[in-house]
């Protein structure tokens, strides 16, 4: 039963399984394990990023395509729901769904156009072209401020059931009021869980196997009769749509959309860092990587601040440990991962488990 749920893609490592279970339980029970807004925000961000990175892994890890347009689709989903809810007086589910539907159509159209135009060229050119397209899109979004709210973004109200004022039951459950925020959290959580399982099903299907074949040797895949262009475009479209849905969920949670949080290059960098450190081509890498990354982003900086204060006298080290410089260490970790952890954390755990299982030679 579990096997079917995970589409046959088992963790294959006890440490990894344990880690995944902890993460799953932590996220599922987050409202009741923690108090206050901030930890819940962290949990919601983790859920969304898991899906965002997993959908990117579909492209990068399974199909071998480097694209810098992923945040663009994320932003489209976010803006779709956000702008729809912002422009009406009465935020209803119907409005939200319409906005989302339009966003998905736009994402589909863009993914098809970019894919048809650019997937036939060498990987590097595709990367550069997606970079150019995504940054133009971001510029457009901040310039068309009448429509999109420009640099500052747009806040909006969500359907009543999801608003903080709403209460499902009057008394507290395990120390938490079951208000609209908690409901929103569970919408996000289950939405992301479904999307993740969908991706898992996708990469373990025959379709997914062909993608991996294309990643390994596109020429041979073509010679075997698979029309690689078609598969690549499909991968592109599916990844884009999933990213858009993730964006929509994030917007629903934040009740805000803006170019920095949705379209900025920082998000793209974060995705790349997570997918490489977590482990490309594993899906679970997105889970482990996103959790560690977001937790570190929110809580590690405090540690860095302590360290920086402690080293106050030392000129360069104090500056290097300043919490604003956390990207420096992440960048170094990223580079080291590419050389020494090419399979990422998940790959490493699986490798260790596999090595431990092998019968020792006498």
């Amino acid at each position: 039963m579990l096997r079917q749920l995970l589409s046959g893609d088992l963790p294959r490592s006890r440490s990894l399984t344990a880690l995944l279970v902890v993460i799953l339980l932590g996220l599922a029970l987050a409202p009741f394990l923690t108090s206050g807004a901030r930890p819940l925000n962290t949990a919601a961000t983790i859920c969304v990023y898991i899906v965002l990175v997993a959908s990117y892994d579909l492209l990068l890890g399974y199909t071998g395509i480097v694209s810098f347009a992923h945040t663009m689709f994320y932003g489209i989903g976010a803006y779709g729901i956000g702008l729809a809810l912002a422009r009406v007086d009465e935020p209803t589910w119907g409005v939200a769904m319409t906005g989302l539907g339009l966003a998905l159509l736009l994402a589909l159209a863009l993914a098809l156009v970019v894919g048809l135009f650019a997937l036939r060229v060498q990987a590097i050119f595709y990367a550069m072209i997606t970079l150019a397209v995504a940054s133009s899109f971001a510029v457009l979004a901040s310039q068309l401020s009448d429509f999109t709210g420009g640099e500052d973004g747009v806040t909006f109200s969500v359907p009543h059931v999801l608003s903080p004022a709403y209460r499902l039951v009057e008394h507290e459950v395990f120390g938490r009021h079951l208000d609209g925020r908690v409901l929103t959290y569970y919408v996000v959580f289950f939405g992301c869980l479904l999307l993740f399982l969908f991706l898992l099903r996708l990469v373990n299907s025959p379709f997914g196997r062909v993608l991996q074949a294309i990643r390994e040797n596109a020429f041979r895949a073509e010679a075997l009769g698979y029309r690689t262009m078609v598969y690549r475009i499909w991968a592109n479209v599916l990844a884009a749509l999933t990213a858009s849905l993730a964006g929509a969920l994030m917007a629903l949670w934040l009740r805000y959309v803006g170019p920095k949080t949705s379209l900025g290059f920082e998000v793209m960098t974060d995705i790349l860092l997570i997918v490489v450190i977590g482990g490309m081509g594993t899906m679970y890498g997105a889970v482990v990587g996103a959790t560690l990354f977001i937790l570190a982003q929110n809580y590690l900086k405090e540690w860095m601040a302590h360290g920086s204060a402690a080293l106050d006298g030392v000129p360069l080290l104090a500056a290097a440990l300043h919490p604003d410089r956390w990207m420096l260490w992440l960048g170094l970790l990223f580079i080291l991962s590419i050389y020494w952890f090419p399979v990422g954390i998940v790959g490493k755990l699986r490798l260790r488990a596999w090595l431990a299982q092998r019968p020792t030679r006498s």
Partner: protein, 340 residues
Amino acid sequence: MPIAPAIPSADAQLPATRRDIAPLLLVPALMLATLPLVGSWSTWVTLTVAGLAMGMMIFIMASGLTLVFGLMNVINFGHGAFIAVGAFSATLVLLPLRSWLEMDSLPVNLAVLALAIVVAMLVTALLGWAFERLLIQPVYGQHLKQILVTMGGMIVAEQLIHVLWGAGTIAVPLPTALRGAFVLGDAAIDKYRLVAVAVGLVVFVTMYLILNRTKIGLLVRAGVEHGEMVEALGYRIRRLFVLVFAAGAGLAGLGGVMWGLYKETLTAAMGGEIMVMLFIVIIIGGPGSVGGCFIGALLIALVANYAGFLAPGIALVSGIVLMISVLLWRPAGLYATGRG
């Protein structure tokens, strides 16, 4: 009795290929075409000089990138790091010698500027050498890893600028003698822009001469086409790679200094910000072609300036529109070097 028509011998002389001059006409054609559209002579002059100046700076920054890609088939997503580091390194000269820059004397100003440029180019060439050795060499031939690793390198470099220079932003006012503009009838031509154009031309001509008149240049041109054969002729192509990479980094540093002074502020992210435009230029020009890069850079800058005046709405996406237009005409860029 032979019935079949005479088949030309397999080694009959092929008709000589014409020199490909169509792309060379693009820039003058664009300039001429927009003159009636702009209407006013003085405005046109201002826009054109601004476009040329920016284009030259973009060319200087992109030239290293295209050469490295053409020769080594290496894509350096961290090229922006050299631009930023070059600009910041220049402050090691520009800030202490501030008083000399404030003197209203062209020779003194230019001398300080020249010294700053030399320092910047040395630092970035060294950084480029380190980059190649540490980051790029281990991942030759693996484009995916190259993209990731060089991006990581740029992130680290950007952060290190913050660490080493304290703030992330430094103001660098223009030297006094280079401020202001020449007045030509109704038109005002910024002095610094002329300097930028001059430097750009010097760089281009120097590169042209080196590539076409020296043995090293021969090696680079041959290596772009067929690195394996160059090696089979007895040359250590790896050394050539390192040299070209470091030189490309140095050029980026030069571009960074010019660009920083143009904006009169330096930010740690200034290199990363411009990467998109550099990539568009390389795609337009054809990877590996210095001439194509030159034309592409001028085109993109001129188009951005003209569009900013004529149709501000599309100015921001003019780069992409230009790229698509060029690719529709020549899918491999203006001057493809035959690399598949």
